[in-house]
Symmetry: C2
Subunit: 761 residues, 2 copies
């Protein structure tokens, strides 16, 4: 079933720069829109003078809160984020005014002439402190104060189990911190909008959710969502950071005030750092009970997420973290509590790993602590407790066939990186200490229960007899469009060059959910394969007319033709393409991801997205070298195994694992995540360093034999699972190398130096 021969369909266009991103589109004579940001984390606007800006030559419009016709509220679930702020600003990136100008220079000049006076307010910058009674309120008057979300996931009776622990049992407890993280996609948020004479708002946006965007814009601006058209070309990265409103409402607002003209908005890297969504910083406290033999008995813990000032998907991210907090382990009693607090930090939002990064780091670290306490090999302890099909995870959901953490660990443990680790450590060069860590990873696929994880796929037979997929789920670089081309080609028995894929357009594509949650290839892929089946049946039936065949099921769909084995006659697909009327050249079919049938009686606070049914699993080995002179830690080796259903494209799986591991390594070792009163200290890519190819080893990948019966060609989504390894694996490796016990990411050279007996910071 593996398709390793087909080159990625978009490889050439991307390698040669021919592929068009929305950032590449600048219609002649288009206007430019830009935003004046608050620049302070919390305060009241006492004066906003836009007169000078309006009088600036080349400025077409300066818009403030008063110019927003609708609710002015955006947000995927909770609509609490203003398009343009009224009186209160709640983080440095808040939008205060919108300028539309004839040129980028006029835009810059206009933005600079906006005068804002603020009355600063005390801010709250810690998600735990934010819940204290006297914390400054981000949304005054709100019943729950700064508590945006709270949830409890329970199975069995963890408190009783912990209370009843005997002297022979072992309990470990610790608190862990993971920082915010910027997505650092190549292409910052941007888009175009135009209000046509017919009243259609025509938009081209770098977005992960074109179909939802229509409703978001319509709600915020008081428009008819069906009069909004969103096109989503290939994205230069997304990672969750384009799953939600970035430029959409602002751009639409600008277009409403410049009827008939294209308006473009393109955030700079600096604006993206300032105003874009971030991975939630989190504090996780866990307590784990095990028998002396290493058998896990109970887990209890609290997760605190920093939402920033607006909800975005914070509650759902917290819930997914809680659902993963037990790891891929068999634990009879669990009690996971979650809190999500408003702060005046950057807005927390979706990010590859979606709460699981935070929980997984803590769980894996605590497994290491248990191993230390028991004097056990960390890998063996994990293997011993690996969750098996038919058992219940920490949310009480019986996990599916294909859950095989032990096999994932075994695959890595059979690799020379593991078997030869001691020799490798001993061969460490001077001033270097080496260590190896091995952790288990998991990530759920899809939206989970409570809302449909749906996609509809449109497949077109062209008049030339080739096939065109109308993709409804944006390709942000992960390669789903190419996977769809390869899938359809295989399903239809056609060469890959006979299949093309056009990117989402809400006017011509049937609806699908967002490109997120490791769901696109599974959900849209299933819809596409159903459309392929319908197309195949149609082609045979139509060819039967030309071939005078009374039993279409006897016909064979061959490359470029339908043939009748009984007569040897064939009709070219190009002829069928010419024969059929337009509507008859199209097949649309849909798929909705199955959900957990009998959900456990817990997590009732979570209306949407809890619990999940399908998971991909894996294991990750990281080997590090710590420099005893500088404290710098280098990721020397990285190996990831994965069980994610059948492998359709090994190259595709490897690309996702490598990219995810690099992003995980960035969080662990590279990225400057320090906040200074609600603002990232690093303001650009000169200071916010992400790992380059030279900074990382070649990540080795091991894809296990697996099969997901509900999956398209047996596959499951796996775009996120690889990000969970490097954080805890680097921490374990660092302990192996230096004895330093890491509770916080990223790793700082100071802490490492100190642990190795070098210079304290």
């Amino acid at each position: 079933m593996r398709d390793d021969a087909t080159p990625r369909a978009d490889a050439l266009a991307k390698a040669t720069g021919q592929e068009r991103y929305s950032a590449d589109e600048t219609p002649p004579g288009c206007l430019w829109a830009g935003v004046r940001r608050a620049g302070i984390p919390h305060g009241l606007i006492t004066a906003l003078d836009v007169a000078a800006a309006r009088d600036t030559p080349g400025v077409a419009a300066v818009l403030t809160r008063a110019d927003v016709p609708g609710t002015n509220r955006q947000g995927i679930v909770h609509k609490d984020q203003p398009v343009l702020c009224g009186q209160r600003v709640r983080h440095c990136g808040d939008a205060v005014a919108l300028v539309v100008a004839e040129s980028r220079a006029a835009l810059a000049e206009g933005l600079s002439r906006i005068a804002v006076d603020f009355s600063p307010l005390p801010g709250v910058f810690d998600p735990v402190a934010a819940l204290l009674p006297d914390a400054p309120l981000v949304h005054p008057g709100r019943e729950d104060g700064n508590r945006l979300a709270h949830g409890l996931v329970e199975k069995g009776d963890a408190p009783a189990a912990l209370a009843g622990a005997s002297a022979d049992d072992v309990v470990v407890f610790d608190e862990f911190h993971t920082p915010l993280q910027d997505h650092v996609f190549l292409e910052p948020p941007n888009g175009l909008a135009r209000l046509t004479p017919a009243g259609l708002l025509d938009m081209v946006v770098s977005t992960q959710a074109p179909f939802r965007d229509r409703f978001e814009i319509a709600h915020a601006l008081g428009l008819d969502p069906m009069k909004i058209r969103i096109r989503a070309p290939y994205l230069g990265g997304g990672f969750g950071g384009k799953d939600g409103a970035t430029v959409q409402c602002l751009l639409a607002l600008a277009a409403l005030h410049a009827p008939g003209r294209w308006v473009k908005m393109a955030w700079s890297r600096e604006e993206t750092f300032l105003a874009g969504y971030k991975r939630h910083a989190a504090t996780v406290r866990l307590r784990l009970l095990a028998g002396r033999d290493g058998t896990l008995r109970a887990l209890s813990g609290v997760l605190n997420f920093d939402a920033g000032p607006y909800a975005h998907l914070s509650g759902e991210i917290m819930a997914l973290g809680m659902e993963h907090a037990g790891g891929p382990y068999r634990i009879p009693h669990t009690r996971i509590e979650g809190f999500c607090a408003y702060t005046n930090n950057p807005v927390g939002g979706a990010f590859r790993g979606f709460g699981v990064v935070q929980a997984g780091f803590a769980t894996e670290r605590l497994m290491d602590a248990l191993a230390v306490k028991l004097g056990r090999d960390p890998a063996g302890l994990r293997r011993q407790n690996a969750l098996c099909p038919g058992e219940r995870n920490c949310a009480g959901v019986t996990v599916e066939a294909g859950t095989d953490t032990a096999a994932c660990l075994d695959a890595v443990m059979a690799h020379p990186f593991w078997t030869g680790r001691e020799a490798w450590k001993k061969a460490a060069p001077a001033f270097t200490r080496r260590g190896t860590g091995l952790v288990a990873i998991q990530n759920a696929m899809g939206y989970g229960r409570g809302l449909p994880d749906a996609a509809a796929a449109k497949l077109e037979l062209t008049r030339q007899g080739t096939f065109r997929i109308h993709n409804s789920v944006p390709d942000m670089g992960q390669g789903n469009a190419s996977a769809f081309v390869a899938m359809a080609a295989r399903a239809l028995g056609q060469p890959a060059h006979a299949v093309t894929c056009v990117q989402p357009d809400t006017r011509t594509c049937p609806p699908a959910g967002s490109s997120s949650a490791s769901r696109t290839t599974y959900t849209f892929g299933n819809a596409l394969l159903r459309a392929c089946r319908a197309m195949r049946e149609k082609l045979l039936a139509r060819a039967a007319l030309a071939l005078l065949c009374d039993a279409p099921e006897r016909l064979e769909l061959l490359p470029g033709a339908v043939s009748d084995p009984a007569t040897g006659r064939a009709v070219p697909l190009a002829r069928i393409g010419l024969m059929l009327c337009r509507d008859d050249r199209i097949c649309i079919d849909q798929f909705v991801m199955p959900v957990v049938d009998n959900p456990p009686d817990t997590g009732r606070e979570f209306k949407l997205g809890f619990p999940h049914r399908f998971y991909s699993y894996g294991a990750c080995l990281c080997a590090v070298e710590a420099d005893t002179l500088t404290g710098t830690v280098r990721l020397a080796r990285c190996l990831v195994s994965v069980a994610c259903g059948r492998v359709f494209s090994l190259a595709g799986v490897e690309q996702q694992l490598q990219g995810a591991a690099a992003q995980g390594a960035g969080l662990a070792l590279f990225e400057d995540t320090v906040l200074d009163r609600g603002r990232m200290r690093a303001k650009d890519l000169g200071t916010y360093l992400i790992p380059t190819a030279l900074d990382l080893p070649d990540t080795r990948c091991l894809a296990l034999d697996d099969d997901e019966p509900t999956g398209p060609m047996g596959l499951k989504g796996m775009g996120e699972v690889g990000i969970h390894g490097p954080g805890p694996a680097v921490a374990q490796a660092l302990y192996d190398a230096t004895g330093i016990w890491l509770r916080r990411l990223p790793v700082t050279p100071q802490a490492v130096l100190e642990a190795m007996g070098g210079l304290p910071s």
Copy 2:
């Protein structure tokens, strides 16, 4: 399952004259086209002078054979009929020249000024004589001479069985004649054509086969079939007479010579009698062997069909007649031979009953002869030999469940018309003799083996949340469009007024076969129900998005809305209609009629359409009164039972049975079918009398409980079966009344008078 409450969807529009037929369309400023017909049955054109016609004021073009750009050949299977004759004319209706004019008056004037000189040739007017060696040849140079088609259908060894008959056995033999018949549809052939500036040939035609017409026209005129668009509004009757080329090629040719302008052609009744297709006249000789107890042993026979000068579907009509020649009876040995000959009579073509009328009359008459010879009740003899499921018919095909001639006979025999027949006869008024006849009837459904009996159905959700069926099979009055509305309404759980049906248009509808062969409701209905299932699934999946439902299968499609029983929330279909992009509001699906799996090893001459798998069955009682003074025979009572799968609409079934019985009674008693040297003696409706409502009794109908598992809602086609009863039932009744032994239809008063001892003619 019966739908007797829903009024026929087109009833009001038709009753009030609002419905538009193609004859109703006369675009302002359109040209008129008309044909100069040969007027002689056989001859060579020695001179054709169109100069005066061309010079006629208002004449736009006069076209002859030299102006035809393609093959000039038309014909559904064999392309042997010229659009415009070259040198030879082969029947009186042959088209010699085509005139296009600005007005009907100019057209008439132009036609009258065409001067044609013929050199007459001896004609051949009898299909048996046509096969003799010295017969004049209709197509000189043709290898098979006048023999257009020949076939043999055998099962067992009928010659041996007949040769081996013992003295105790009974053999009956006779020869029967059925005449040609005109369809006498209300709306004579007509249509419109226009060559658009884009090169599209846009046509509106009263046709039973819009999709095939494109290929017919393209072949004859050397055009691209995909650049021809045919729209087929409701037909004012068809009965097979519009299944093939009438105006199509002529009209297209005219339009090619008047680019940009609409051209209209409308045949008069007289032109239709002259040039239109007719039911084939036939001579059938049958020999039937039975045991003394009435058990049928063997049947042997020869069918001779009069094709006229062009093939049309003559071979297929002959084959279907042969396939039915054994009647719905159990006969171990059969040998049926068929011949079809070219003559200079009117062109034989498709007509309701399609060869079965001819064969059935002979078979049923011979059963009567056997009953007389055995001194048996004709009904009981039929019942004794009724074919049962699992047995093989005369073509060797094992008949399906639902074959129950005995039940059809029983239903009629339980009716007072049968049980009270002797009392009724005794109550005959003065100068009147009464008699009752009861025969079995059957008719296959669909094209049969060798070509796909296919249809694709397009179902559209409108933006208003209602449904629109795009019918691909013309409704010629039989009511299929209304049946489709009712079927879709039921399948979708919507009120009938929420479903509309638009008539065929090759540009917007997916393809389907012709409206013929009792196939439309079955084949298109199945395709439509599949499209309805796809639509239902789509609606639930799309509604799930609006209802945030993770399990669309839980949703319910209610009238006008999709509802979630779990939450009580609903989304109106009108909202879904607005939500979906255009292509997503359409579902297309298709169906191909199953064929006989293991066809018997006979009838190999028939490439197309042999044998058939599905039949409808019935029985027909006719009671007649013969006037002893005038010889006039009046059909006093008519009762038809039918087993045709489930009855979806009893009114629809009754309408078909009543119409078919009337058409059968027309052939038996009313229509002047006499030919005079290749031309019908009756030239208009003043002389070709068809029965009116006043001439006929109310035909009573009995629809049996039945079910066809492959049928849409369990039904089978039954538009033809009812025509087979009156011919043989009237003959049997007349024998019962008068002792006259009828071998020929129609019944003539002279023959009746003579038999009753009245005045000989």
